[in-house]
Amino acid sequence: MWSALKRLYHQLGSPKWFYEITSRWSPWFLWIGSTLMIIGVVWGLAFAPADYLQGNSFRIIYVHVPAALLSQSAYIMMAVAGLVGLVWNMKMSFVVGKTIAPIGASLAIIALVTGAIWGKPTWGTWWVWDARLTSMLILLFLYMGVMAIYNAIESEEMANKAAAVLALVGSINIPIIKYSVEWWNTLHQPATITLTKKPTMAPEMFIPLVLTIIGLYCWFAVWVFARTRNEILWRERRTKWVKSLLNTGANH
């Protein structure tokens, strides 16, 4: 078991191996993710019962909740990738960290925009300085910082490490920011899903939500793989395997 894990780790460190294995995995994730997404969204939008308080406007959660959830876990993934890169100096880990940043930022934007659209009919206003909205906005700022540092530093190696340090510092501060903002002001409803408690939602509303969440995770994987493979091709553009890959691709 241990040696298999170790081998996997070393294989993951190889850009060529990563490129090849993810090009085989991507279609699977894409199909599973799309199937779950279609079932979840159609079920949620067309068949789930309307909420007795919010009516049909609650249905935006099938986009909002997965995006919000994923943008938060993406930050943690980015920080972990940065930590692995800093500690073991693993190149591929930096590449993955770099590709996650803009994806996580776009998910945070989706969560904020859908939240605002939902807030208008429900709270009667597009934006309130509520704790969870605010901490989502701050999460977006943290993503922007990481992306800005990639843009500002020309040396690739230095940019990787600097962004990894920043992502780690941010990940330590996220819980502190989250709780301080929560004590500061709370209007948002409590978390929809907690792992420890039974869901407070009706199952016919809840199951499609779970499907869309898993579906979005799969799409996220496809998205990260695609961007990482692009980045690998760019970084390894002078190596033999990339040149031969691109030449055979051109002959087709």
Partner: protein, 225 residues
């Protein structure tokens, strides 16, 4: 022994440099004063209304002034090459960064703390707000210096570092801002503010342990080019 000696030498040298360029030392303070005086001009000179927003204005002003002064932390040492030499010395980078952070707080955080009550008077801060204002600045500005050191270390070699720094550091300042400003508000309302101060102290203790590690690592990354 030699380690403490060289750190003391750096400490003395930096203080000396700072007091020979007093203008640079005054800049953040002038900035603080100006930002605070813009609000009555822009919003209203009515003391009742100013008193309501004074805690927030003073704290945002202190935060921005600190941010502005972070550029001084490593920049001039980097430009004349002495930063590299100091990092080559046998003492741990961690201690070096802590000395630099302490110096930054002495030159920015402490003067801002001492000046804040004056701004409180100008902005008609109600009576109960002064002690929590001073205490919150005393406990909060070291945290600002500690977190700021990370940003200063990350951007030290960059030409566009000045614009980048707020983007990196401001989100991390939010917990300090929330608890500090609300402690002053609690004091104004006549409530107990020790809970807010306790949080500021806890955050300071945590960052005292963690932030220098991150700034030392960032400094090494920035210098390694």
């Amino acid at each position: 022994m030699a380690q403490t000696f060289s750190l003391m030498a750096i400490f003395k040298r930096d203080l000396l440099i700072a007091f020979r360029n007093r203008g640079e030392l005054l800049n953040p303070l002038m900035f603080f004063l100006m930002v605070a005086s813009l609000f009555p001009l822009a919003v209203t000179p009515d003391p009742k209304f100013l008193g309501l927003i004074a805690p927030g204005i003073i704290w945002v002003g202190a935060l921005l002034a600190t941010l502005l002064s972070l550029d001084l932390m490593f920049k001039s040492d980097f430009e004349d090459g002495s930063l590299e030499q100091m990092l080559l010395q046998p003492q741990p980078t961690l201690l070096f960064v802590m000395v630099k952070t302490l110096l930054h707080w002495l030159m920015a955080g402490l003067p801002l703390t001492l000046m804040a009550p004056v701004l409180g008077v100008m902005l008609a801060l109600p009576e109960g707000g002064y002690w929590p204002l001073v205490f919150s600045l005393l406990l909060g500005t070291p945290t600002l210096s500690l977190l700021g050191a990370i940003g200063a270390a990350l951007t030290v070699g960059l030409k566009k570092g000045g614009m980048l720094m707020p983007l990196l550091i401001l989100p991390l300042y939010i917990p300090v801002l929330i608890f500090a400003a609300s402690s002053v508000q609690a004091g104004v309302d006549g409530n107990s503010y020790t809970g807010h101060l306790a949080f500021l102290g806890a955050y300071l203790a945590l960052m005292l342990v963690l932030a220098p590690v991150a700034s030392a690592a960032s400094l090494k990354i920035s210098i390694a080019r």
